[in-house]
């Protein structure tokens, strides 16, 4: 009984326990859309539904699960345009402004990444999505406006938007079953 009882842990970056890995393997393809979606998990993992719910809460709190949600197909929802906007932001304020940009509703990912000088002077990446070219161009202008005081111009001048012209490969990232 002990080893199958889920116990919430303090540390945020705690490694996954065996039972958590099992939970992830069982849910990464999705959750059944039924009245009591956690019942079959409880049964498979030999835990109570309350314990499964506690585990879900804990994984959410630790950021392992970002959210439990419906994920629309971008294209089917009409969001067929995306642009990777990249910005050369003063290093001492990139954290603050990155958080600001990340909160914009049309931004799906926002990261700080290393520069690679002289070829690449950008340190802030923000992926934007829209329904047409004009929309993403307006979104980019909004970001530029927010960053106007902290953009570095210098010899590398403008900031870029790299629109995607073709998907060459797209596979899901999955936790693999451990080969024992």
């Amino acid at each position: 009984m002990l080893d199958s009882t889920y116990q919430s842990r303090e540390r945020k970056k705690a490694p996954l326990t065996a039972i958590e890995r099992e939970f992830i393997l069982l849910t990464q393809q999705g959750l059944p859309i039924v009245s009591r979606p956690y019942d079959h998990l409880a049964e498979k993992l030999k835990l109570s539904v309350a314990e499964i719910l506690a585990m879900s809460e804990d994984l959410l709190e630790r950021g392992v699960i970002r959210r439990i949600a419906a994920v629309p197909n971008h294209y089917r929802a009409g969001y067929t345009f995306n642009g990777m906007t990249v910005w050369d932001v003063q290093d001492d304020v990139v954290k603050e402004y990155g958080a600001l940009i990340g909160r914009l509703p049309f931004v799906s990912h926002c990261y700080r990444r290393p520069r690679c000088l002289p070829e690449w002077n950008y340190n802030l990446f923000a992926m934007i999505h829209g329904k047409n070219e004009q929309q993403i161009s307006e979104y980019r202008t909004q970001i530029k406006q927010l960053l106007k005081d902290v953009l570095q111009t210098g010899q590398h001048k403008s900031n870029d938007m790299l629109t995607s012209s073709k998907i060459l490969k797209k596979t899901g990232l999955r936790l693999q079953k451990k080969k024992d």
């Binding site: 879900s56 990912h109 999505h129 596979t171």
Partner: protein, 147 residues
């Protein structure tokens, strides 16, 4: 899609409550029945309007190493280099983008060492430089697509 479909999709994109009967909770909020929420979501999933339904995992928390890499590929070699890069099972996504650096791909591996090995291997096979842009800090991941 009818008005209720839209309400359900917009609501459930933001994350459903953690509870024994989450769809009943959503139905309460939206003033419809649990059965309607379930049927409509299932239909959207079957129809491909939803790409998935369930927990969204932070890949990095699951262990492993990730990076975003880019290459400047001469147009006449584009197909050949695409083949080289895509042949690696560790390459999860690859996009052609309009820029001097015109190929951008995500590499997902078990370890940092494996990442370096894959990138070096791509450089050797293509005789092109691979620029590596690992994530240093994450500000936000997620997207709300109102319908």
């Amino acid at each position: 899609m009818d008005a209720l479909d839209k309400k359900i999709l917009n609501r459930t994109q933001r994350g459903i409550p953690v509870s024994e009967q989450p769809f009943a909770d959503i139905a309460n909020e939206l003033d419809c029945t649990e059965e309607q929420v379930i049927n409509k979501l299932q239909h959207m999933l079957d129809d491909g309007l939803l790409s998935r339904f369930g927990p969204m995992y932070d890949a990095a928390s699951l262990g492993g190493a990730f990076t975003l890499s880019a290459m400047q590929v001469p147009e006449e070699r584009f197909d050949e280099v695409t083949e080289i890069v895509n042949a690696f099972s560790q390459v999860a996504h690859n996009y052609k983008r309009q820029h001097r650096l015109n190929m951008w791909f995500v590499v997902a591996c078990e370890s940092q060492d494996e990442i370096q090995a894959v990138l070096q291997n791509i450089e050797q096979q293509s005789s092109l430089r691979v620029y590596d842009f690992p994530k240093e800090e994450e500000f936000y991941v997620g997207l709300y697509l109102p319908v």
